[in-house]
Subunit: 452 residues, 2 copies
């Protein structure tokens, strides 16, 4: 951390550099970024030593209704012309095109690019970073992961002298709100989702959130930075929360766990058949049981948090608002101020990070503890039959709980197991074999356990 | 956040710059920094593009026992000679002298300085920063506040486009461990302190920790960065935890609060007698009641966390290990890598931050809610007498709880009040007046309440 005095002297305005800032997109976040650039111009000048002049806002429809009233003369539909005249381009359009083409145009013209477009960065980040490098311009994107929370810069700068071993992130506010509601009120998924939609925490089509796609894009970005390697969306194993039931949540609660949708990136040591060790990284998103005393378990509502384990630093957590126009605008402005400071100082625009070559591995290479719920006949010998299946597959049981339910005349037994660490393959084979037992009605849930 | 490829090419070692790193001090943190510099030299070269060569370790006594075995030839008692030959000087000696003189020597010779010396920075920071500026060298000190937690850099960079309004920090692990023990086990302060001493969380002379002096130094540093103004130790109102009793903790718990020692820096709007508004900052350390659902309430044991409120970002929290050799070394190395990257790139060594001129105000300017415990006679009319005193002084009661204790034949009433916001002056006058009532045995506690 560096702290300095004596920036641009406000008493000598003629010497103050002006940086033209082009804004692409005036949605939820974009309109707040525009507001802050206009309202806080003096404070931003004091922080950077430069006048940040909002030169224009490119939108598809100038007359669309917006949350913030902004000077009409700033709006344009010619994004390309705006980009060509800018020193700093802020891309907040979302989606792959025309965002990608406009970012490439900005890079070509030597403009610094600040983006919050997680979808584009997860899909195409590596090629964009390379083009920015080749052109010697900066590309920054703090707002793309966990909204207002400063997480990418600390990973890249503050932890640069350390080795990150694991990242566990609650990076999607919609799913955290839904799971938190289910945990607090006992609601079913559908009711909690409807509630989230009514409150504006979930979209009319909630697929990208509840199926984990949004979290997967953020997982790819977090993994790339944490392990100095490029991970793309196809490297991320992804499972959403739509199949998590109120019964799963209740059973987890009863056993001292909470269920969270986590974006996980972790370093693994693989051992080949001939005993050679190599490193690999697993990047995945799935509903996860966490002990209720884990710091991430206390992240409620639509808040986000990223929990990091590093060799020297130990455990760190970063907590804050993961979405919302104004909070996310704060992260965008942080990138803009950093870029402007560097431009004022006239130093080189590049900050190097050597890229490693740790391969991404599929979910089948991951060993975790598992939580398995089974609905079985209530008769003698059931537990021993199931236990034998676990033993046959080399999966060791850590805890078991049994509850007997009376359904009219019949009764059934609900068995809930937490295993010791087991591989995906061993677990899948175990679950298949349990399903084949004649005393089993169904396997009601299979969830991973982390943080213990 | 910026991400780049193509750093120093490891296949072309002849082009690799070597940076000489001088280490001052080989205690708890220093010896771990030396170990990491030696063990992880290749990884650090990959991150920075430079070879970081540990050129020597200055200590008072070369033969003193150390936690980590380090090459004997690196040690020297001539710190001054070591500093004069270095590109980067890491000062981890602690204390005011000779640390100050050596840092000034490093600045004079154009070396980048990384320090973890909170006492020196709180006492003398402003003059050190100015000298570093004048010489055009960097001075960074992430390790000085909250150990491994990246907090200073996010405040300075990531939140540079936002306006921080309040910082609440658990920045002393010893006191957090003691208060957490008291909260969990019901122990008295003395017993929890003895426990902390036995486990190595508290020193034989615990004064600096339990009286809040360590937290006050960190509060001054946090306030300076958050409000772009220089605050020194004498601007910090400081109250420790040695007078917090098991009864206070129990009463707070009963009312849904937890007691934490907080370092607080907050922006206030003062209104003069003729109605003119002006901004000021209060910097203070005191035991504080926090609602148990506040994110800081979940910070247990010797962990640290800093909770930040910013105009746009909203609420943020940074959590991690606040002490310990290896975790703190991680923060030191983060500063070293950042400094080395900048030196490799050859850009200017300065990163500007205009300094504002928000005055520091004393505790008397602060309005907070208060928790007041009173031991009174158990007789009719007591509550109305006390309530009248509050009313007379313009202090409004939010909640009151009364418990009657039987002591043999006699009985006494314990009354616990939480007030609405009141000024320090009004509260002090109220407490004095309550003490003067004939029905009062004693005022057992007066504590501030935050986070509601």
């Amino acid at each position: 951390m560096t702290e300095r005095t004596t920036a641009a002297d406000p008493a000598a305005p003629n010497t103050t550099k002006t940086l033209k800032v082009a804004l692409l997109g005036a949605g939820n976040v974009g309109s707040q970024v525009a507001r802050i650039l206009l309202e806080d111009a003096d404070a931003l000048q004091a922080r950077t030593g430069a006048r940040l002049e909002l030169s224009g806002i490119a939108v598809r429809n100038i007359d669309a209704p917006r949350e913030v009233e902004l000077p009409r003369e700033l709006f344009t539909t010619d994004a390309s012309a705006l980009v060509r005249g800018a020193d700093i381009v802020i891309e907040l359009m979302g989606g792959l095109e025309p965002a990608r083409t406009l970012i490439l145009e900005a890079i070509e013209h030597g403009a610094t690019v600040v983006s919050g477009n997680k979808a584009l960065l997860a899909a195409d980040g590596p090629s964009l970073y390379e083009k920015a490098d080749a052109a010697g311009v900066q590309l920054s994107y703090e707002a793309a992961v966990a909204g207002a929370i400063p997480i990418l810069r600390p990973i890249r700068d503050s932890l640069a002298g350390d080795k990150i071993t694991r990242v566990l992130g609650i990076v999607n506010g919609t799913t955290n709100y839904i799971l938190d509601q289910m945990d607090t009120t006992g609601a079913q998924f559908e009711d909690a989702l409807a509630d989230a939609q009514r409150l504006g925490y979930a979209e009319a089509d909630p697929t990208a959130d509840v199926e984990g796609h949004d979290a997967a894009a953020k997982a790819a970005i977090l993994a790339s930075l944490s392990f100095h390697t490029r991970f793309a969306l196809e490297n991320v194993h992804c499972q959403g929360i739509s199949s998590v039931t109120a019964a799963d949540i209740a059973a987890a609660k009863d056993a001292g766990f909470v269920i969270k949708l986590l974006a996980i990136a972790e370093k693994l040591t693989l051992v080949s058949d001939d005993g050679v060790e190599s490193e690999a990284v697993s990047v995945r998103v799935h509903p996860t049981l966490l002990p209720r005393e884990h710091p991430l378990a206390a992240v409620h509502g639509a808040f986000n948090a990223v929990f990091i384990e590093a060799e020297n630093a130990g455990e760190l957590m970063f907590y804050g608002r993961g979405a919302g126009g104004t909070p996310t605008a704060s992260a965008v402005l942080g990138d803009v101020v950093s870029a402007a400071r560097r431009m004022v100082l006239g130093g080189p625009g590049r900050t190097e990070t050597t890229t490693g070559h740790v391969p991404a591995v599929g979910i089948e290479a991951v060993s975790t503890r598992y939580y398995i719920g089974v609905d079985a006949a209530d008769q003698p010998g059931v537990l021993s039959k199931i236990a034998a299946v676990f033993t046959d597959h080399g999966v060791s049981i850590e805890t078991m709980r049994q509850t007997v339910h009376q359904n009219g005349g019949a009764s059934s037994a609900e068995l809930r197991f937490v295993t010791h660490e087991a591989s995906e393959a061993a677990l899948a084979a175990t679950v298949e074999a349990i399903k084949g037992l004649d005393v089993i009605n169904s396997v009601t849930s299979v969830l991973r356990v982390e943080g213990v």
